[in-house]
């Protein structure tokens, strides 16, 4: 009988111990959020004020790689954890689509995560810039002479001479040039495409970090490059035209 009572007491004390352990565990779990915020420097009242702003739509995670074939990571996909994120945040990371309905301190953490991911990307871009700088210093200029480019320049020179000799009396010299450029647009597909690697410059890195999508940057740079090609053709054409005009004048003045 006494052993039965002792067993009962022991079981009761165990369960009391278990209960106390359970209470301690719950207390630790509840206070962990506050502790984390204190560690990372967010005050509790700031988190309460920002609780209303925490219901923001998910933002796209911008891509480092400027390669066009790379797809955008969708907002619903879970982001790659940054090496700079503290362990506790990484372990407790949730998909971005989830609303923190029961977590008033989630918005500072999300802000911190966003900041750390930006920082991570900035470090990677800096590494890329450092790697590309020796290649750029030792490599060729931005204007590379591929076959199509050489074809364009020679075509512009020949057209300028032809226009000066035969055409310029009848119409403006820029009309044949525009026709030539239109022809080049059509002919470009018959030439082997030279894959121009997008260089990571300070400008592209700054644009990436400011949130502009890499696809937009790629397209803008491609358009800028094409405009540069047309401008180069125009300069060669006009220069050749003026030069041939002056040579013809000189020959004309020298002949008796």
């Amino acid at each position: 009988m006494e052993s039965g009572e002792a067993t009962e007491e022991r079981t009761g004390s165990l369960s009391a111990a278990q209960r106390r352990a359970e209470i301690r565990r719950r207390k630790l779990l509840i206070n962990s959020e506050v502790r984390m915020n204190r560690i990372v420097g967010f005050a509790k009242n700031e988190s309460e004020n920002n609780a209303g702003a925490s219901r923001r739509p998910t933002e796209p995670h911008f891509h480092l790689d400027l390669d066009r074939t790379e797809l955008w990571s969708s907002p619903s996909s879970s982001p790659r954890p940054s090496p700079f994120l503290p362990e506790a945040l990484r372990v407790r990371q949730r998909p971005r689509g989830e609303l923190a309905s029961d977590d008033p301190s989630s918005s500072p953490r999300r802000g911190l995560q966003k900041y750390l991911s930006h920082f991570d990307n900035a470090m990677k871009l800096r590494g890329q810039l450092d790697n590309e700088k020796p290649a750029q210093d030792g490599g060729s200029d931005s204007e590379e002479f591929d076959p199509f480019r050489i074809f364009r320049l020679i075509g512009s020179i020949l057209l300028a001479v032809f226009v000066r000799v035969f055409v310029c009396r009848y119409l403006s010299i820029f009309a044949p040039f525009l026709t030539l450029e239109l022809a080049y647009m059509g002919l470009s597909k018959y030439f082997p495409k030279v894959e121009k690697k997008t260089k990571t410059t300070v400008l592209t890195a700054a644009l990436l970090l400011s949130g502009i999508p890499a696809e937009v940057i790629n397209r803008s740079m491609d358009t800028y490059r094409r405009m540069g090609d047309v401008f180069a053709d125009l300069c060669i054409y006009f220069f050749t035209f003026i030069l041939s005009h002056e040579i013809l004048l000189l020959i004309g003045s020298e002949t008796p």
């Binding site: 403006s172 820029f174 180069a232 300069c235 060669i236 002056e246």
Partner: protein, 174 residues
């Protein structure tokens, strides 16, 4: 007739100036390294130090550390001292080269700016060449800027064109 000749060669003068500037720009590293070699007084000292370090290292490799530790250690100290001295020397030479490069670049850009400003000043109201205005329609005003002469090619347009052409040609040649 001389005035006409001079006016007729204006386009060539601008072209020549732009070509000269671009050529000098490509030769800037060569010029700055040449000047820094001229200015540097103790150039042989560095190669002597290197040769001496090599000799000492060779001697050290022939010594057994166990048998002649004192001599080995003495050589090691000498090598370290000489290496530090060489490092200081190389550092100062590199700094001097960087300074010289900076000075040469600054001087070049000042001269280039002065040349361009003087060309623009000279041909501000005179076109470098004149063609019938209908040839360069509809952009004759833009081409003639800032002269305002109908059919004229202004200094700014010609400078831009020459700059681009010369850059392309020098790039093709190099």
């Amino acid at each position: 007739e001389d005035k006409n000749m001079a006016a007729g060669c204006a386009w060539f003068l601008v072209l020549g100036s732009v070509f000269l500037c671009s050529l000098m720009k490509t030769l800037l590293p060569t010029i700055s390294s040449f000047l820094s070699k001229m200015v540097q007084k103790d150039a042989e000292q560095e190669s002597e130090m290197r040769a001496e370090i090599q000799e000492m290292k060779k001697e050290q490799s022939s010594i057994s550390m166990m048998d002649e530790f004192a001599r080995y250690a003495r050589l090691e100290r000498k090598i370290n001292k000489m290496t530090d001295k060489l490092k200081t020397h190389v550092k100062s030479r590199t700094a001097q080269q960087a300074k010289m490069k900076w000075v040469v670049n600054i001087v070049f850009y000042i001269l280039q700016a002065a040349l361009m400003i003087s060309l623009i000043w000279k041909y501000y109201s005179d076109p470098v060449t004149v063609v019938p205005s209908r040839w360069i329609a509809p952009v004759e005003r833009l081409v003639a800027f800032p002269t305002g002469v109908a059919g004229g090619v202004g200094i700014t347009c010609w400078l831009v064109v020459c700059n681009k052409v010369v850059t392309l040609c020098l790039h093709a040649v190099s």
